[in-house]
């Protein structure tokens, strides 16, 4: 199983994977190439990936100077960080209760969770917006973060994960004198890392890139998130500054890629509960 030689199967596999990767990466190749082109170079009839004049410096300078990129990135980090923190803080105890404790509302919770999974923020944006206005929450980190502090996706995912955790582990913790909160903090959380990491990827990606909600609640630039910042490069009518747009996109996508590279190792490492028998 650990043959390192190039067998036929392996060649086929590698070929398939590489071709697929090229297809999946194609838009990015275009993006990288465009980020280095002058505006007049971008739309030409000839297919060329390598820019005629290297305009990377100009485009990136524009991307960084035209919008306060540092502030945008910082806002993105703060918002995603807060959202993720609260999502995990809220979802883990809830999923634990649903998976490992007997209580009658568990079924009702499950229904709520499924419902939550189905309701897109677009559908409920207006009532939430009005409510936030009433309590003067608009234009704040709170407005960006609050509606997402509850992630039914997280509850759903942790639920699946916790169900697989053996009851005996929790029993042992109880006998060792831990309270239920203690069990969550000391046993569940440390062992839920793979699930938490996987969820982190989804959560951060979704909220880093979310444009819809910031557009609704944020009108002051102090709280603009990276996609909101990208708006400066986009317009409905003729001629966007595509080179700068792509440079800006690259700038805000790179942190995500870095996060994924860091996280993927940990969470693909596997979900193994090796404190146990068979």
């Amino acid at each position: 199983m650990t043959t390192s030689a190039l067998s036929l199967g392996r060649i086929i596999r590698l070929t398939l994977l590489s071709l697929g990767a090229i297809v999946f990466l194609a838009p990015y190749l275009f993006m990288i190439s465009t980020a280095g082109k002058a505006q007049s170079d971008i739309f030409t009839s000839s297919l060329s990936l390598i820019p005629e004049h290297f305009n990377y410096v100009q485009n990136f300078t524009k991307a960084l100077s035209r919008v306060p990129m540092g502030m945008l990135l910082w806002n993105g980090v703060v918002v995603c960080g807060l959202i993720f923190f609260f999502q995990v803080l809220v979802a883990i105890p809830c999923a634990y209760a649903m998976a490992k404790l007997r209580f009658r509302a568990a079924r009702m919770m499950m229904v709520l969770v499924m419902l939550g999974l189905l309701v897109p923020i677009h559908a409920t944006a207006l009532p939430i917006y009005v409510a936030f206005d009433r309590v003067s929450l608009l234009n704040s980190y709170a407005a960006l973060v609050a509606p997402f502090t509850i992630s039914v996706f997280a509850i759903f995912m942790f639920l699946q994960f916790f169900r697989a955790m053996p009851d005996d582990l929790i029993h042992a913790a109880r006998l060792d004198g831990m309270s239920e909160v203690g069990i969550v903090a000391r046993v569940i959380v440390p062992n839920a890392w793979p699930a938490v990491t996987a969820f982190a990827i989804f959560s951060v990606v979704a909220h880093w890139n979310d444009l819809f909600w910031p557009l609704v609640v944020i009108s002051k630039q102090d709280y603009a998130t990276p996609p909101l910042g990208l708006m400066y490069f986009r317009a409905a009518e003729a001629g966007d500054d595509y080179g700068a747009l792509m440079a800006a996109t690259l700038t805000i996508t790179l942190p995500l890629v870095a996060v994924f590279l860091l996280a993927q190792k940990r969470f693909v490492e596997g979900i193994t509960m090796t404190g146990l028998k068979g």
Partner: protein, 387 residues
């Protein structure tokens, strides 16, 4: 007053009655071994005792105090789980230290970061680490203290689980097959450690095992549970030599006791040409079972010396040899235990004569309970021979 007592515990899982009213009392410092076939409810009973599961009926008293309103975390019970249940993210030494930290450190001192700023916790932690290390040493796992469970073999994990339970000063010890994954030598050693710890701690201990040597050698009393009932709770000697029920006789003893169908009438038991006289036996004619342990069957190379039989199979077990012999008269197999010296010269297929020591035979009613004891062989000679 008993230190631990269970009264009429019943428990069912989805309609299946698993525990059918189990009652048990243990004195302070008593060591009780709980044995029984797989799936008979041993682990379930321990879990109920620990407060991890709830009985449908019955009550549990520890030190005379009713426990039903006390949460597991507050019962101060130490338990070794059949599945180890080690914390996968902690090293062996951290695993062992957990119950100590939970008890010796205050809520605030246990907090990460913040806790380490509280004065006094450093000394306590050092004490905990020291105790954990001592415990590990006595179970020969002190070289593994920095490993996580995933990096240990099954036997090593089991010892960490044992250490985690033994490091505490609980009011009751519960152990669920704590040595099953150790090899023979290690098992004997660990057995000694447990017995020693139990003697020092002097708290009631319930010890589940499927190793009879363990049960018989370690326990003050052995409880035999079969089919959800506690069939007998008595000293090892009594369990072995004087079982109260045929199931107990059948379950305890290695190799298995010989069971032979017989007819009892007016105090005389007849089977395969043998007649035994029973004390206190008054009932009318009935089918019974005669039981005799393999070490109480003697063998002779002459098939006329005792019951005629043939050797079916010979098992060599090192210090002893097990013979499987088929009785010519009734076709039943009788197991005989010999020393290698005694077995020299015997071969499969050879005809032999079996002598059952009548004073060691036991008689059981058809539905299981013991029927008085044998007084004497009414007639140990065969009455007729076949082919």
């Amino acid at each position: 007053m008993s230190a631990l007592s269970l009264r009429g515990i019943t428990k069912s899982f989805g309609g299946n009655l698993i525990l059918k009213g189990v009652s048990l009392d243990a004195g302070p410092g008593e060591f009780i071994a709980l044995v029984g076939p797989s799936g008979c409810g041993k682990s379930t009973l321990l879990r109920i005792l620990a407060g991890l599961d709830y009985a449908d009926q019955g009550e549990i008293l520890i030190g005379g105090r009713e426990m039903s309103a006390v949460a597991a975390a507050n019962r101060n019970i130490a338990m070794v789980f059949q599945s180890y249940a080690l914390y996968p993210h902690l090293t062996a030494s951290e695993n062992i230290a957990v119950p100590l930290a939970m008890r010796r450190l205050s809520r605030v001192q246990r907090l990460p970061f913040v806790g380490s700023l509280i004065p006094g916790q450093r000394a306590i932690r050092a004490g905990i680490a020291h105790d954990a290390k001592e415990m590990a040493k006595s179970l020969k796992i002190d070289h593994l203290l920095d490993r996580k469970p995933g990096q240990m073999s099954g036997g090593q994990r089991q010892r960490v689980a044992l250490a985690r339970a033994m490091v505490r000063h609980p009011s009751v010890f519960l152990m669920d097959e704590p040595l099953s994954n150790l090899d023979a030598n290690l098992r004997v050693h660990a057995r000694g450690e447990i017995v020693e710890l139990h003697r020092r701690a002097g708290v009631p201990t319930v010890y589940v095992t499927h190793d009879q040597a363990e049960a018989l050698s370690m326990a003050d009393r052995v409880a035999v549970m079969i089919g959800g009932n506690l069939l007998q709770l008595a000293s090892p000697q009594a369990i072995y030599d004087d079982p109260a029920h045929i199931e107990v006789a059948r379950f305890v003893g290695q190799p298995r006791i010989n069971l032979l169908p017989a007819i009892a009438e007016a105090g005389i038991v007849t089977f395969g040409g043998i007649r035994l006289t029973l004390k206190n036996m008054t009932q009318p004619k009935a089918r019974v079972t005669v039981a005799i342990r393999p070490e109480f069957v003697h063998i002779s190379k002459s098939r006329h010396d005792g019951l005629p039989a043939h050797i079916e199979r010979i098992e060599f077990l090192g210090s002893e040899v097990i013979l499987h012999c088929r009785l010519d008269a009734i076709g039943e197999t009788v197991i005989v235990k010999l020393s290698p010296a005694e077995a020299a010269g015997l071969a499969t297929g050879a005809p032999v004569g079996l002598q059952l020591l009548p004073e060691r035979a036991m008689v059981f009613a058809e539905d299981g309970p013991r029927l008085g004891s044998v007084v004497a062989a009414a007639d140990a000679k065969r009455e007729k021979t076949h082919g």
